[in-house]
Amino acid sequence: MNEKLLEVKDLVVQFRTDRGKVTAVNGVNFELYRGQTLGIVGESGSGKSVTALSVMRLIPNPPGEIARGEIFFRGQNLLHLPLDEMRRIRGNKIAMIFQEPMTSLNPVFTVGNQIEEVFALHQQEYSKAERRNQGIELLKMVGIPSPERRYLEYPHQMSGGMRQRVMIAMSLACRPDILIADEPSTALDVTIQAQILELMKKLQSDLGMAIIMITHDLGVVAETCDQVAVMYCGQMVEKANIKTVFSRPRHPYTKGLLESIPSYDSTKNKEKGRLPTIEGMVPSLFDLPTGCSFQDRCNFVTEDCRGRKGMPQLENLALGHEVSCFNPIVV
């Protein structure tokens, strides 16, 4: 088995708000191995971005706070690191790209300047000329045409797809062990989306890094991931390899998500071509139901489920297939 890069144990992240404390991430566990792509899927507010930001220790504090848990990066607990050592890991060993390519770059500095900043920070042995050459090399690597010219341009002179490529180039500057991609293709056109995902896959195999792909789009997961973790209301409800999740989902929420993917083949949909949805709304984090937080929307809910007080915990139902459900679907 490949080297274990990341191990998150019992992560709890809370935010103080005017209406009291909310728990955005509630007891999340996962592992990440070199070369692997882990997809974290869920609706808005399910805690997937917060989980990712926690790994970088970028939760805005206040109001947010990592209340409990451990995050081991190659055996080292990131949550116990002094801040300046954590900064040496950010952008260097663990890098991150974001959903908003249009605003994620600083508008008043050239693209080259912003890339070189990473070298100046983490590769101090580079000379000025080396930084420049490496920067241009990165732009070339992410497929930006005429990189020498683009290097001197400002973000506003580029399209969204180009800017996301720049973000990827910047994040890969120090050949990180882990790349966290928070909805990297969501804000882009579909064709550009595919290009960006293709690029990430190619770079992953070239550089041998691990990727955490955060998305609400199961199509993206299907294209890029090896492992999938489905999140709902701050918890991971199902975790397995991609094949298992898509072919034999055992959590009703995962099943609902998969069924609500539009498909060209309408015979697949039972109700006269109507797209199945998950009924109801994601409950507010302020008043989650006691017990299973999915019970009010679940098609498989039983009296027994409703009666249970504690939250369902992830359990190994099959080898490498973990589900947190009182009444998992039988396959």
């Binding site: 970088m56 970028l58 206040p62 300046d84 900064r87 040496r88 890991i89 950010r90 952008g91 260097n92 890098a95 991150m96 974001f98 908003e100 605003t103 994620s104 770059l105 600083n106 508008p107 008043v108 500095f109 050239t110 900043e117 990473v118 920070l121 983490h122 400002y154 506003h156 973000m167 910047m170 994040s171």
Partner: protein, 313 residues
């Protein structure tokens, strides 16, 4: 677009603006305001005296000529002579500008530095106790009327404690220092409140931008993020705020000059208004308009240095 083309175009825009401003000044002084000869001669003047005076003051010339006179003065700064003192107005302005600037320029510079430092400090510790305390002090300082500072300064600091001169002026450095120190300090105290609040808001507007999160994700420390990434973005509104204040420095501080007996441009303007000295008032109006236009062009040019996006527009 080339930066020189941008600057040139911006300068060419000045011409129509200046012509328009001159037209407004002309209308205000010649058509809207009451007949100055009546005010100068008093109500017992007869028609002949009035006509003679009108001829003497050049008010019987055609409107076009009088308008062009104003336009010409905006370019040559030849404003003619004062009606009451018969002095060359440009000489009066030159003499008044130095006392005005000795008060306003150091005060402006010191206030700018203090407010920028304080607001960066406060933005760095945003949400912290220090931040809240600073905002509170700013609001308190803004809430006290300027007259209170002037009276307190003159009574306690100047009269009772003798730190400064109460009022008056002496030409030449360092003779003017004891006279201008107190009005300077009061100017600084008056501007720190609103300035810090403005700079703080502008800086905090940037703090929550996505590029700041990117900068953190790169591993930059908070100081570099604040001083490099955030400050350069915040410079755009700050430059506007700062540069647009400069014309008012040249025109002097009306209130402070009159309270402290400083023979600056503010004082000259007040006297001219009181004695119906139209050419002087008009000269000050033209001068402030020209200064304002020049500094707004400078602001626009400075933008291009700070914000690369401006050049394209």
């Amino acid at each position: 677009m080339n930066i020189y083309v941008y600057v040139l175009r911006r300068i060419l825009y000045v011409i129509p603006v200046l012509l328009g401003v001159c037209l407004i000044i002309f209308v205000l002084f010649n058509l809207v305001s009451p007949d100055p000869t009546l005010m100068l001669l008093g109500k017992h003047a007869n028609l002949k005296q009035m006509q003679e005076l009108r001829h003497e003051l050049g008010l019987d010339r055609s409107y076009v000529v009088q308008y062009l006179d104003i336009v010409k003065s905006a370019f040559t700064f030849d404003f003619g002579r004062s009606w009451s003192t018969k002095q060359e107005i440009i000489e009066m302005i030159k003499n008044g500008a130095i006392p005005s600037l000795t008060v306003t320029f150091p005060a402006f510079l010191i206030a700018l530095i203090i407010s920028l430092v304080v607001s960066l400090f406060v933005a760095f510790y945003r949400g912290h106790f220090l931040d809240r305390a600073a905002v509170l002090v700013c609001v308190a300082m803004m809430s006290i009327p300027s007259l209170a500072y002037i009276l307190f300064g003159q009574k306690i600091l100047a009269y009772d404690l003798g730190f400064f001169e109460i009022s008056g002026y002496e030409h030449g450095f360092p003779a003017f220092v004891p006279y201008v120190a107190l009005p300077c300090i009061i100017w600084i105290v008056l501007s720190i409140g609103p300035d810090v609040r403005f700079y703080r808001t502008v800086i905090l507007d940037e703090v929550y931008m996505d590029y700041v999160r990117t900068a953190r994700a790169k591993g930059l420390n908070e100081k570099v993020i604040l001083f490099k990434h955030i400050l350069k973005n915040a410079m755009i509104p700050i430059i506007t705020w700062v540069v647009i204040q400069i014309p008012f420095l040249i025109l002097g501080a009306l209130l402070l000059e009159s309270f402290f007996g400083i023979p600056g441009l503010g004082g000259i303007t007040l006297n001219a208004i009181n004695s119906t000295d139209f050419p002087v008032v008009r000269a000050m109006t033209v001068l402030s308009a020209v200064a304002y236009i020049i500094f707004s062009v400078i602001t626009d040019v400075l933008y291009t240095l700070v914000d690369p996006r401006v050049r394209l527009k």
